[in-house]
């Protein structure tokens, strides 16, 4: 099973290591993920240039046109709205909410994890118990229950995802912090009498945050899925704002005769998820170098 390797002469070994490092920095998953995600973001941003159709305007006389119909490359939905326009503007909605919804859990969770790991003792114990409790709820169930309680709308999606999502970052950063605070540079910073906030934010944070950044990439995928799922269940971004989840749900009723109505937005979610997963993989590979 194991390959037989011969020792390289030192010069070529150094060149090989350099090559590997360069490959690690810009590895294939990272490049393909960034290109794919860049294309999706470009399509979302350039939506008005790519289609002249209005994603919200209904035209019942033109309902259920199949893909390839004149003026409607991806057809129209049950209200006669252009599917391509809804896809492109839907990308704007879902990407924006998906990326923004990860920011506050990341910031809040990392900060709490930093504090818990640094101070330890009762502070850590209390935070640990809260984390245990929040983690006991399935992510989607608690998000849905919170969105229901707070009321539908984009703001409550942000609030719900923040209230549930911070725990993952808190756990990751706390774990890293327990190791980092015993390192010599941390002790040196402490011994030099710097204020605690400065030790935490300037000296320790940059060293412990990498794992959280890596996790945030796959977290964007999970958040995007949660948002699309909320849309599918009728609890997401309120209509008539286009959103991929709502489009899949609307298409489900006509799945036998108009299979493409659900299939196309679903594929968009899969491709976006793939792009982000590739970026996440690429960053892990890069960090391992």
């Amino acid at each position: 099973m194991s390959a037989v390797t011969t020792a390289d002469p030192p010069a070529s070994a150094a060149a090989g290591a350099r090559r590997r490092r360069r490959r690690g920095r810009w590895n294939p998953p990272l490049i393909s993920g960034l290109v794919l995600f860049g294309l999706i973001v470009a399509c979302a941003l350039c939506a008005p240039l790519l289609t002249s159709q209005d994603p919200i305007k209904q035209n019942l006389a033109q309902a259920f046109l199949a893909p390839g119909a004149p003026g409607h490359p991806l057809g129209t939905d049950s209200f006669g709205r252009d599917v391509l326009a809804r896809m492109l503007y839907g990308a704007r909605t879902d990407l924006q909410v998906g990326v923004l919804a990860v920011v506050s859990p990341f910031l809040i969770g990392s900060l709490i994890g930093l504090v818990a790991g640094w101070f330890g003792g009762w502070i850590d114990a209390v935070i640990g118990r809260v984390v245990d409790v929040v983690i006991a709820f399935p992510f989607l169930v608690l998000v849905i229950a919170l969105v229901f309680a707070i009321g539908p709308g984009t703001t409550s999606i942000y609030v719900a995802i923040t209230l549930v999502g911070w725990v993952a970052y808190c756990r990751i950063v706390r774990g890293q912090m327990l190791v980092a605070k015993e390192q010599e540079y941390a002790m040196a910073a402490r011994a030099s009498g710097l204020p605690t906030w400065r030790i935490l934010l300037r000296h320790l944070l940059p060293n412990v945050v990498l794992q959280a950044v890596i996790f945030s990439m796959s977290d964007i995928v999970l958040t995007l899925l949660a948002i699309v799922t909320l849309g599918f269940l009728g609890l997401g971004v309120p209509p008539p704002t286009p959103d991929w989840g709502t489009m899949i749900q609307e298409g489900q009723q006509f799945i036998l005769t108009k299979w493409y109505m659900s299939t196309i937005p679903g594929l968009a979610v899969v491709i976006t998820g793939l792009a982000l997963a590739l970026i996440a993989d690429g960053i892990v590979e890069r960090a391992n170098q």
């Binding site: 245990d132 269940l233 009728g234 899949i248 799945i255 793939l274």
Partner: protein, 313 residues
């Protein structure tokens, strides 16, 4: 004996978590903006009805008192009464729980059927063509929306080929078994990518260890080395991964139940949300959390039983 003490300790450590869960579920109703009673009853409610609901919800009492009353009812198994059906929430949950458990069990079985062979093949033929293909699966699988996958499976195997029912899961055992196949596979296809990744990694670790090299050098066949010697040890760490993800997937059952119209607690939760049936939403949320706690406990116990190195402290 040590194992029994370990079980008891784990059970005691659950008490603060369960208290915390009950507090969050209790607090959900306090998150409703404005006056929960008038929001719940809608714009056409009479002041009399609003007052009655406020009394029923105990909203006029201080917060701690409200929570203690809620906790007292909970300990008696009283989760309140559904606004929509008028029946007890506990009754509704016990009626719909079997479908969810069926779904979880079938999802886990299908996950193992898909993930174990693929992970073993990938690890045994490391860096081969098959390994590269199998390693790509988790990357694609991560962003797969389970509800969309379910709709696609319904379209292909339910509507076009007619092999499986497209909705519900019947009343007899045979109906249940046929009806649970597509939902189970839907869950498995979203769960197995993560398991393949972890099982493959731990298989590779194990296959590189000294005792496997010894087994190989004794001339034991590859199949026996992989299945007889390596898999059991590799499985230990994957049990933990599977446990964590079943907990996560417990949440996805609610969407899968919706897609396949399975009468489980997830479907119950969504229909209660659409009907603004707050006590049922609270009850189901609590049930989901308790299910996760139980799955985590079982995972820990299995892990400790499988691996004697796990510290029973």
């Amino acid at each position: 004996m040590r194992y029994l003490v370990y079980i008891l300790k784990r059970l005691v450590s659950l008490i603060p978590v369960l208290l915390g869960i009950s507090f969050i579920v209790f607090f959900l109703i306090r998150l409703i903006p404005g006056d929960p009673a008038s929001t719940l009853l809608g714009v056409h409610a009479t002041p009399q009805a609003i007052k009655e609901l406020r009394d029923q919800l105990g909203l006029s009492k201080p917060l701690l008192g409200q929570y203690l009353t809620f906790l007292g009812h909970l300990l008696q198994g009283n989760l309140g009464y559904s606004y929509v059906y008028g029946s007890s929430v506990l009754g509704l949950i016990t009626t719909s729980l079997p479908a969810t458990i069926w779904l979880l069990v079938s999802g886990t079985v299908f996950t193992l059927l898909i993930a174990v062979p693929l992970a073993v093949v990938a690890a045994a033929r490391r860096n081969g063509i098959l390994d590269n293909i199998i390693r790509a699966v988790p990357v694609v699988g991560l962003g797969l929306p389970s509800f969309w996958l379910g709709i696609m499976l319904i379209l292909a195997f339910g509507l076009k080929l007619g092999w499986f029912p497209v909705a519900g899961y019947g009343t007899t055992l045979a109906d249940h078994l046929r009806g649970i196949v597509l939902p189970g596979i839907t869950i498995a296809l979203t769960l197995s990518p993560i398991l393949i990744r972890s099982l493959r990694a731990s298989m590779i670790d194990v296959l590189n260890s000294d005792y496997i090299v010894t087994a190989r050098s004794k001339g034991i066949s590859t199949a026996r080395v992989v299945f007889g010697h390596a898999l059991r040890n590799a499985a230990v760490s994957s049990v933990a991964v599977l446990g964590v993800n079943i907990a996560y997937l417990t949440g996805s059952t609610l969407v899968v139940e919706r897609v396949f119209s399975l009468p489980g607690i997830g479907e119950q939760m969504i229909s209660s949300i659409l009907g603004r049936d707050f006590p049922t939403v609270q009850g189901v949320t609590l049930t989901f959390a308790i299910m996760v706690v139980i799955v985590n406990l079982l995972t820990d116990l299995t892990h400790a039983a499988l691996d004697p190195r796990v510290k029973l402290s």
